[in-house]
Amino acid sequence: MPESQPASQPASQPQPLISLQGVTKRYGEGTAAFQALKGVDLDIMAGDFVAVMGPSGSGKSTTMNILGCLDTPTTGAFLFKGVHVENLDRDQRSLLRRHHLGFVFQGFNLLARTTALENVELPLIYRGEARKTRHDMAMAALDKVGLADWSDHTPSELSGGQQQRVAIARAIVTHPDVLLADEPTGNLDSQRSIEIMHLLTDLNQTSGITVLMVTHEAEMADFARTIVQFKDGLVERIETGHHRRAETA
């Protein structure tokens, strides 16, 4: 499936992979209600590398939850590959995540006391892959993040950078269309952070995975091709064709 998604879409195909149309999100009821998103319009093309930025409370996390099909908009439309996600039920959204999305979190979120290989195999179990296929695909993903030799180590035996790389391997093992990374370098020092960003850039370029990354560090956002700036529940500014640091480095 990802092979059918070239890194750069031809100009003749303007259909965006992801499209948010007038998305609002309100939490709570009555006077306690909080309007997190006030009408977000955003198109993301396949193969893009998007950094979502903005101060806390600006709505970037809410937007990421909606894009990750973990949450639904209060009003507005969210189209993923032309499918209206806002109309899908909980299990349908789970299946969409299973087949098309990969997640990387700030806190790594690996299963404790579980080896790197078993962690990476987890999404494949839900996809019903056979044991042998699971093992081969998981090893390939670990190899891609440079941890093939660490497959039998548990998270507590790995450094933070290594744990995040295992998490990335888990996210890409199913060859997803989109990799959603929520502050992937938030818990890492700058050297580890840059290694992780290089890895994400590489996956974006060589595997053609669309990367959506939330960050508040301009240094990390520099790796992205598109920067989306949020403010007060709205998209404040979209900077496309960003001069990517990775390409010059």
């Binding site: 299973r98 999305l101 979190f105 979120n109 839900y126």
Partner: protein, 402 residues
């Protein structure tokens, strides 16, 4: 998917081996208690039945009166005479032996030792009917029986107390005021379970007992051995019919005698032990219930503790039913493992307990299968609620959980 889930849950159990063990301890103890109780109860029933049938299989005892429960003040029923014994022997088919029994408790003395014994006056058919072999010596001859000679056959207990080291056959034994020749020694038979020590007996021709001890011509009981090829019911009916005629009981009047069937006694006693077993098993089953609640408790704690893990699984694309299945399978695997451990424990406990209780060891697969099934079911019942709670978690909230 199910197999993978089972593998995953086994992995999870292995990761928390101590906690898992403590979780299922209730089920372990519950299953062990229930299975041990049932196994011992069955063994007790069997043991009682075999002890009763050691009184003689297919034996009928005919005795005057209507047994226990008869109101006081009634006229004593007419005792049996030897003619009744002869009539049964002569007119009832399907019986292998009919013997009178005239009993008396006497003190037996040999050398300086004395011992209280039950003197059993009967005929040579008694031992046949009882299928009671002699250890040595001989039974009395028809001539000795007819003449009521003072000859006796002694039981093993009598021999053990009066002849610790010597061979009793051929010696003189004083029973009460009578001196009699010991002509035989009975094989050891043991406790009857209801009638005390069967071996504490001295068997003499009934005429001798009537003449020397009881002083009348009454026969206390009549022992009838039924041919194993026949049903005892119809034979009981014909004996009853015959005795009613002989005792001139008119139609509509109740019998003034009763017929006891050892088989019926065995069944009745087995029934009593069965009821006791059911009661004790019921009490033991409460611990199974407590065990189930223990599983639910720990599974709820486990769901809370693993909220983040559930969040990860949901984010990765697990649907609610898969999370539910995972926790349900975990509970079922846990409780089934507990059940297996409980069965093993029950096996060892029953095997050891039957030794001092002197009961047979009966390991019945049926109760084991049922207990195992119940333990698995406890996992389903008490695992469902925590599993449903896990499946209903919101992925965003779950991922944020510390």
């Amino acid at each position: 998917m199910l197999w993978t889930t089972i593998t995953l849950s086994l992995r999870e159990i292995r990761r928390h081996i101590l906690r898992s063990f403590l979780t299922v301890l209730g089920v372990v103890i519950g299953v062990a208690a229930v299975v041990t109780m049932v196994t011992l109860g069955n063994a007790a029933s069997r043991s009682v039945q075999s002890q009763v049938s050691s009184l003689g299989s297919n034996l009928l005892t005919v005795l005057p009166g209507q047994g226990a429960g008869r109101g006081g003040g009634a006229q004593l029923p007419q005792p049996f005479k030897i003619e009744d014994v002869d009539a049964i022997r002569g007119q009832i088919g399907g019986v292998t032996a009919v013997a009178p029994q005239v009993q008396s408790t006497q003190t037996a003395v040999h050398n300086a030792a004395n011992w209280s014994v039950t003197v059993n006056g009967t005929s040579d058919q008694y031992l046949d009917g009882q299928q009671w072999a002699l250890a040595s010596g001989r039974v009395f001859t028809p001539a000795e029986e007819q003449a009521g000679k003072s000859v006796c056959i002694i039981g093993d207990t009598v021999k053990a107390n009066l002849y610790p080291d010597a061979d009793p056959v051929g010696t003189d034994l004083r029973v009460g005021n009578v001196s009699c020749d010991v002509i035989g020694l009975l094989a050891k038979r043991g406790q009857s379970g209801i009638g005390g020590d069967q071996d504490n007996t001295v068997i003499m021709p009934y005429r001798a007992v009537q003449r020397r001890f009881t002083g009348n011509r009454n026969v206390q009981f009549i022992m009838v051995a039924v041919d194993p090829r026949y049903e005892s019911g119809p034979i009981q009916d014909s004996i009853s019919q015959l005795l009613r005629e002989r005792r001139s009981i008119t139609a509509g009047k109740a019998d003034d005698f009763s017929i006891l069937d050892t088989k019926q006694i065995a069944d009745a006693l087995g029934g009593i032990t069965g009821t006791l077993t059911a009661v004790v098993t019921g009490i033991a089953a409460i611990s199974l219930l407590v065990g189930g609640i223990g599983i639910m408790n720990i599974m709820l704690v486990s769901v809370t503790e693993r909220t983040r893990e559930i969040g990860i699984r949901l984010a990765i694309g697990a649907v609610a039913s898969e999370v539910l299945l995972q926790f349900l399978v975990e509970a079922v695997v846990l409780s089934s493992l507990g059940g297996l451990i409980g069965l093993a424990l029950a096996f060892v406990a029953s095997a050891l307990l039957v030794i001092p209780l002197k009961m047979p060891f009966l390991w019945e697969p049926q109760i084991n299968l049922i207990a195992f099934g119940i333990s698995a079911m406890i996992g389903v019942i008490f695992g469902y609620f925590p599993a449903r709670r896990a499946a209903a978690l919101d992925p965003i909230e779950a991922l944020r959980h510390e």
